[in-house]
């Protein structure tokens, strides 16, 4: 029965102490948390740590759950905020973006084709500012609408639209560089 219950109801139940509901919720969304964490950090190890931190903090955070947004939107916000905290702890953007570089090294054992595709990704992501990376991770990676992404990032839909057009502009510039 629990498997069919909507996220929102599970969250409400978990917030009031329903252990089974909480377990279902975590099981259902761990992959999602991990996926977004990876898209935001670009390092698998970091994504795992971040996902674990989020899971550990989730019981306390659920107390803030008010059922006003969709659970996934709420959860995305938690993940994005956690990633921002992580970045801030890493002190500078420069170091945050290095994650994508380190990650490339760790990937060298990977199958050649896959490695190449991800090299490109790492390169593309590194060249975007953190704001743009977050936006890309949500809009392209999680396939959110611009309105949803705006809700998660706390900016207007117009800003998301502008950021996406900025991303396009930068990708074009990168493509030109590559062509040289």
């Amino acid at each position: 029965m629990l498997m069919d219950t909507p996220d929102e109801m599970l969250a409400t139940a978990a917030a009031t102490g329903d252990r089974a509901a909480f377990a279902t919720l975590v099981g259902r969304h761990y992959d999602r948390i991990h996926g977004l964490a990876w898209r935001l950090t670009g390092v698998k190890a970091e994504a795992e740590d971040l996902a674990q931190d989020i899971c550990a903090a989730l019981p306390a955070k659920l107390r803030n759950w008010r059922g006003e947004a969709r659970f996934t939107t709420w959860l995305y916000r938690v993940v994005v905020n956690a990633a921002h905290d992580l970045r801030r702890r890493q002190q500078t953007r420069a170091r945050a973006s290095q994650g994508w570089g380190d990650w490339e090294l760790a990937r060298q054992d990977e199958i050649a084709v896959e490695a190449e595709a991800r090299d490109w990704l790492a390169q593309a992501m590194t060249q975007l500012s953190p704001e743009l990376r977050d936006t890309v991770a949500l809009v392209l990676g999680e396939e959110m609408t611009q309105a949803e992404a705006g809700l998660v990032l706390g900016v207007s839909e117009g800003t998301i639209a502008w950021r996406m057009s900025d991303v396009k502009k930068r990708l074009r510039a990168m493509a030109r560089e590559d062509a040289k």
């Binding site: 992959d31 899971c55 490109w120 117009g158």
Partner: protein, 697 residues
């Protein structure tokens, strides 16, 4: 290119699948914490987060800080602490701004476990109804950092409402420093910082601010720019500049012609780069704009003259074999009381990119600063562009400050840029405001993205140039970095008979829009051109320092159709030539074997200065001529200008400065900084020091 986005999408979708072990560990930890939380009375799981990573954008929060000082009502404090204890069940720290004799009982308030409600397993469930509401309301939606909110001088039962306001406005407070709500956020708590010290007590005002910023940033998910890297990692800035002017041989090209340039944008951009911790690129440096950033005390023009020119000659600081000829132009300052009425159209970029704190919010502050300088009879209109262009505020008398400020406040960023329509609308509005004897000016405020949707940038310039004939001036205020299209700004301002300035701080806004408002808005001479004919007998080689983007052809000087720069009321414009006498060992070109030896008196005039200008609105120009004798004395003013020209050349990596370096530039500027009542010159000295340190890395 959709291709690229598709690639990126595909690559991002291919996230590595999570490790089963990691998932199991995380799930187990989650369950353990869940049980722990359920099992304890007060749910002590969240250590206090560290504030070390506070963003430096927190400065605008000082208003909130001040409000915090008013937090003296005991009931409010009591309510705050109990709410906090019930809510997060953690030791609560109330950072207190340092205020002599203020709130002795708070500093650090620790809530012992025994004081928390004892019954039940969930603290929230046992909380009295009122406080439960407070707790809920005080939580920014989905924030990972539970936030505690207290009101000021409000009974506890009103806390809920104030708390809601606080949560909603936290973002606004950070972004705009709008000290609108009498509330205080305190004690950010974050469960994710597992390795942070459990309690980090900072009673310093700045940690309070940091905490606020952190709460706001996490509570509303507004990504805060990272303080350590104020320069975006990559940017799409474009700068207008040409290669530095080369040395010319007088015998081959005795006449040098250029338009004056009263822009100051380059200096502000250079400053913003240096303050950000990196050296500006050579194309960001336009020396004439750096020199003209500073006010100079040149001789005032005689009664009825529009301006006076001051010539001075001195040995070149960086080259003993040459001399510097400085031409200083001082615009007349008409009596301020009789200045004509002013019609201003603010054309404001509200595209999504303007959201940053140093863009739209700074722009709003800047324009509201300026409002106090206007007269009741002046008129203001506001047009925005982004997505669709719109008239936000129809022409309104400056006396109606409340209305204008309200319209400014309501501006919000969003959408992409459609500058062309906005500009057309602004000109329409300006036309409607015009009356005889009044000055009409459009102030375009943007971060650069002006041409989205316009396929033809030159068309835009042509449009502006055409509109200039109608007598409406156009000035450009640049904001923010990373996207700054300096080239378009320059060209719009040049073609629109205006100035381009770059506003990076509120004090720069003050300089441009308050201290120098009259000069910035009231032209006294249009199309000012300078032509110098050098005497080959006394000057073998010459070099104009800066003004690369303002060069005119020799024949353009007498052609009144050719546009040039404007001089504002009471402003100064300075141009510097470096000249080399025949026979000097500093000559860069050898004499021609078959060339005719130059004739004339080697002790005669150095050259002849011609100035052309038009009275505002006139079509025909007036010519002013004066000889450069070579005996004009230099002053501290011109020596300071030379130091700034040297500064600019050092930044450009100029080949002409030889061994002359930062120490010499600093010494020269310091020795000649004069009165400097506003501190602009000493700021330049400090920038030189900064540049020196940066260039040694």
């Amino acid at each position: 290119m959709t291709d690229d986005l598709d690639d990126l999408r595909a690559a991002l979708k291919a996230a590595p699948s999570p490790d089963a072990g990691a998932k199991a560990r995380a799930t187990a930890l989650a369950m353990k914490n869940f049980d722990a939380l359920q099992g304890q009375n007060q749910g002590l799981t969240d250590p206090v987060r560290s504030n070390e990573d506070r963003p430096n954008e927190a400065a605008p929060l000082n208003g909130v800080l001040r409000m915090f000082k008013f937090l003296t009502s005991r009931p409010a404090l009591a309510a705050t602490t109990s709410v906090a204890a019930l809510l997060v069940g953690v030791t609560l720290i109330l950072p207190v701004a340092k205020e002599p004799g203020g709130i002795p009982e708070t500093g650090v308030t620790e809530k012992p476990a025994t004081e928390a409600p004892k019954s039940g397993q969930d603290a929230g469930a046992t909380t009295p109804v009122v406080e439960d509401e407070i707790a809920k309301e005080a939580q920014p939606d989905a924030s990972p950092a539970p936030t505690v909110v207290a009101t000021v001088e409000e009974p506890a039962k009103d806390d809920a409402e104030a708390g809601r306001l606080a949560a909603e406005s936290a973002d606004a407070v950070v972004a705009e420093a709008a000290p609108a709500v009498d509330v205080m956020l305190a004690a950010p708590v974050d469960g994710l910082v597992a390795d942070a010290p459990v309690m980090e007590m900072k009673t310093e005002a700045d940690s309070l601010v940091g905490g606020l910023a952190t709460v706001a940033a996490t509570g509303t998910a507004a990504p805060m720019p990272d303080p350590a890297v104020s320069q975006p990692i990559e940017n799409t800035e474009e700068y207008a500049n040409e290669a530095p002017n080369p040395v010319k041989v007088t015998a081959e090209e005795p006449v040098s012609t250029f338009s004056i340039d009263v822009d100051t944008a380059s200096y502000a951009v250079v400053r913003s780069s240096l303050m950000g911790g990196y050296l500006p690129t050579p194309d960001q440096v336009r020396i004439e704009e750096m020199v003209n950033y500073f006010p100079y005390a040149y001789a005032a023009p005689e009664v009825d003259a529009a301006f006076a020119s001051t010539i001075s000659v001195m040995p070149t600081p960086w080259n003993p074999g040459t001399r510097l000829v400085t031409i200083g132009i001082q615009g007349a300052l008409p009596e301020v009381e009789v200045r004509p009425a002013l019609n201003l159209v603010f054309l404001i970029d509200t595209s999504g990119s303007m959201e940053d704190a140093n863009k739209l919010p700074l722009l709003k502050q800047s324009l509201s600063l300026m409002l106090s300088e206007l007269r009741p009879e002046d008129q203001v209109a506001i047009v925005t562009y982004a997505g669709s262009a719109g008239l936000v505020l129809p022409p309104t008398a400056a006396a109606d400050r409340a209305n204008i400020l309200a319209s400014l406040d309501n501006l919000a960023a969003g959408g992409s840029t459609a500058g062309a329509e906005g500009l057309e609308l602004a000109y329409q509005v300006a036309d409607g405001m015009k009356a005889d004897g009044e000055v009409t000016r459009i102030l375009l405020a943007t971060d650069g993205d002006f041409n989205v949707g316009v396929s033809d940038p030159e068309g835009l310039e042509a449009y502006v140039a055409k509109k200039r004939e109608t007598g409406t001036y156009l000035s450009v205020l640049g904001f923010g970095r990373g996207n700054l299209d300096d080239a378009v700004m320059q060209s719009l301002a040049q073609n629109g008979n205006g100035t381009a300035v770059y506003i990076d701080t509120l004090s720069e806004a003050r300089k441009v829009l308050v201290d120098q408002l009259t000069g910035a808005l009231f032209p006294i001479a249009d199309d000012v051109k300078i032509q110098v004919e050098w005497n080959p007998a006394t000057v073998a080689e010459y070099r104009l320092i800066g003004y690369e983007t303002r060069a005119l052809r020799r024949e353009d000087f007498n052609n009144d159709k050719v546009d040039a720069g404007e001089v504002g009321a009471g402003t100064q414009v300075t141009a510097i030539y470096e000249v080399t006498a025949p026979g000097s060992d500093a000559l860069l070109n050898d004499a021609l074997r078959y060339g005719a030896a130059s004739e004339g008196d080697p002790l005669g005039e150095l050259g002849f200065l011609r100035l052309r200008w038009k009275a505002p609105g006139e079509d025909t120009s007036t010519l002013v001529e004066s000889p450069i004798t070579g005996h004009e004395e230099a002053s501290a003013e011109t020596r300071f200008a030379a130091a700034i020209a040297g500064f600019g050349q050092l930044l450009q990596g100029s080949v002409y400065t030889g061994d002359w370096g930062w120490d010499e530039a600093i010494e020269l500027a310091l020795a000649n900084r004069g009165d400097d009542p506003f501190g602009y010159r000493i700021e330049a000295v400090n920038l030189m020091r900064l540049a020196q340190s940066l260039s040694e890395n």
